[in-house]
């Protein structure tokens, strides 16, 4: 595995001076640490992906299918017809450069191909050559390039250096969404069998076992039991949630990272405690056990395939609506695509909070509510007893996840919840939050370990904003509501801003939540002594 340079060394390599040669003459150099391993054959076979073979990015010959060129051009042609937006994005860029310095990967690398304008140009130049009269006739004068195997390598390298965060599109005067170009480029690469291991593994697991991690039903139950032991140790209360229970009012689905990894499990403990405290009539499912959707990072069809179990499980169990855990891309898919992928079953109703009576009108069609919206509503109605003296030692800032903020506009709810469960809250600078938020650098299936340098570069702007509030206000907690963030931001903090801990919203809620009949808390959600509330010596 490539060795990760030290932060200082890495920073010195960021060079914003333009290269001496024309970008079209730059030969792409695939550098270790900047890309992920290719997919394993067994994972591709599990979901019938095309052109399954052994190949390595380091090989000169990537063993492309014999008719690869026709396939790529046909795939572009199909998508130009199918997605009007894609066609428009191919035509309208005036290369004004407003997007150039808005991309976290460009800011963390200085690589010109990471300027969104140029990333899209990798595709546009091919579009011009084969789909526009000027490009066909004038060639390179019209900004056109021949499609060669080198171009495929370049696409693979750079379209997997984009996290589809859409920050560039916010600044584009034409509203060009480079993420859509990336999504389409990745679909085409997938058609050529050039999938990533870190994406294909979760997709295969999700298809066959129900979730990205491949947790079997008894493993899910056992992991949750383990969390319940911890909760009992902390609060003295034994919680007994239900699994696959027909007739429950609400089906709860969260990204499987919350059931397995640190710090996701602390967030999960927060859900368990909250739902117990308010007496929510809900059930977990060991079948629809994944909120996230790595299929979305391969093709729209695979995203659709992997979401089928959500509504079908809601139907089987006869629930009234679906509550979803803290996740980013999961919400982009649930909010923007799921109800158009599949018809919500008849038994689902417009979500109404059984505790406050609030009708979640915005979810009247999808029947899906985000848990942070749900909890904000509980607090707004004064339904929770919260003790912020337990979180007094935490100085918190908020990372807006790209998908929930820029993609969906959930800005206020998490801030409202956090300000009610902690006393010390400070925002990062304005141009790094809300719709202008910076990506964690590891989204869209890039949170592997072999590409750690890429992740540390991509997360550089976010980390610098945290560093700013860390130095100015003593911020020591970076809160978020996304499973990829929870997994990705901790290594990012350890690398750039040591001493900052990453927490989900409901970990903070769990710390502050006063539960009926609980013992005096001496431990936080992680089982660490609570400052000022340590157990007294006998």
């Amino acid at each position: 595995m490539a060795k990760l340079p030290k932060p200082q060394e890495l920073m010195q390599t960021i060079d914003f001076r333009p290269p001496k040669t024309d970008w079209r003459n730059l030969k792409v150099e695939l550098r270790e640490g900047m890309y992920c391993h290719p997919a394993k054959k067994k994972d591709l076979e599990a979901v019938d992906y095309p052109y399954i073979r052994e190949w390595s990015p380091k090989d000169e010959d990537w063993k492309l299918p014999a008719d690869w060129k026709e396939q790529v051009l046909e795939a572009i042609r199909e998508r130009l017809i199918r997605f009007r937006s894609f066609h428009v994005f191919m035509d309208i860029c005036v290369r004004c450069g407003a997007c150039a310095d808005k991309c976290h990967f460009f800011l963390g690398s200085g690589d010109p191909n990471n300027m969104p304008v140029l990333r899209a140009e990798l595709m546009r130049s091919i579009y011009r050559r084969y789909f526009t009269p000027s490009g066909k006739i004038l060639g390179s004068i019209a900004g056109a390039r021949e499609l060669t195997p080198e171009i495929i390598k370049e696409w693979w390298y750079y379209f997997y250096q984009c996290t589809e965060c859409r920050r560039c599109s916010l600044y584009c005067p034409y509203g060009i969404d480079t993420a859509e170009v990336t999504i389409i480029a990745r679909e085409i690469l997938n058609l050529l069998g050039l999938q990533l291991g870190w994406i294909a593994g979760p997709v295969a697991n999700c298809y066959w076992k129900g979730n990205h991690l491949g947790l079997e039903p008894h493993t899910i139950k056992s992991n949750i039991e383990f969390m319940l032991d911890d909760i009992e140790n902390i609060t003295g209360i034994r919680i007994e949630p239900s699994f696959n229970r027909k007739g429950a009012e609400i089906l709860f689905i969260t990204p499987s990272g919350d059931l397995f990894g640190v710090p996701g499990v602390y967030t999960c403990m927060g859900y368990l405690m909250l739902f117990h405290e308010i007496g929510l009539d809900y059930t977990w499912s060991t079948y629809a056990s994944e909120g996230g959707n790595f299929g979305f990072f391969t093709s729209m069809e695979m995203a659709k395939r992997l979401t089928y179990k959500i509504y079908s499980e809601a139907k089987r169990l006869g629930v009234k609506w679906i509550l979803g855990g803290e996740c980013g891309h999961m919400w982009r898919i649930w909010n923007q695509y799921l109800p158009t992928f599949w018809e919500p079953p008849d038994n689902l109703q417009v979500p109404v909070s059984p505790i406050t009576g609030t009708r979640f009108e915005h979810a009247r069609y999808s029947k899906l509510v985000h848990v942070v919206e749900f909890t904000a509503d509980l607090i707004k109605h004064g339904k929770l007893n919260l003790d912020t003296s337990r979180t007094d030692h935490l100085v918190v800032t908020w990372h807006d996840s790209c998908n929930t903020s820029r993609g969906m506009g959930i800005f206020e709810e998490p801030r409202f919840v956090i300000k009610n469960v902690v006393k010390n809250f400070y925002e990062m600078p304005d141009n790094t939050i809300r719709e202008r938020t910076f990506c964690c650098g590891s989204g869209s299936g890039l949170n592997a370990s072999e590409n750690m340098e890429l992740r540390m570069r991509g997360g550089f702007p976010r980390a610098m904003a945290v560093k700013h509030v860390n130095e100015k206000y003593g911020v020591n907690v970076l809160a978020n509501m996304c499973a990829i963030d929870r997994a990705a931001l901790q290594p990012l903090m350890d690398y750039w801003v040591p001493g900052v801990t990453v927490m989900g919203v409901h970990e903070l809620v769990g710390n502050a939540l006063v539960m009926k009949g609980e013992k005096e808390r001496t431990l936080d959600m992680r089982g660490e002594p609570l400052p000022g509330k340590e157990a007294k010596e006998e």
């Binding site: 595995m1 493993t219 072999e450």
Partner: protein, 111 residues
């Protein structure tokens, strides 16, 4: 696909050195893999490797680190039930390194 040569046989591993076929595993192979990293496996290491293998049999996945820590605390005493102790044994991280010696697939992170 990369491989390691052991006892005159080519054993398939992935890019990060994890066994492709669980059945290729043997105690000797684990010792050989550790040896290449300059580690001699002691009883303390084996306690963890054996636990990982047992757990994998039951659950088809490596345990979450919290479960591993708790189990070590139970078996080896509470002073050892912490991640620091595990890192002393497996400097590259208990999840990654210990799983590799135990012949388990590379643990998926949190996705």
């Amino acid at each position: 696909m990369p491989s390691i040569e052991f006892q005159g046989k080519q054993i398939e591993v992935d890019e990060d050195g994890y066994l492709v076929n669980l059945n290729d595993w043997s105690k000797e192979l684990a010792e050989y893999m550790a040896g290449k990293d300059g580690i001699t496996l002691t009883d303390a290491h084996w306690e963890i490797i054996n636990f990982l293998r047992d757990y994998y049999q039951k659950y088809q996945i490596a345990p979450m680190i919290k479960i591993l820590v708790k189990e070590v605390g139970k078996v080896m005493g509470p002073d050892k039930g912490n991640t620091k102790y595990l890192y002393q044994l497996f400097p590259d991280g208990p999840a990654k390194q210990a799983c590799r010696y135990a012949g388990l697939p590379k643990p998926t992170g949190c996705v």
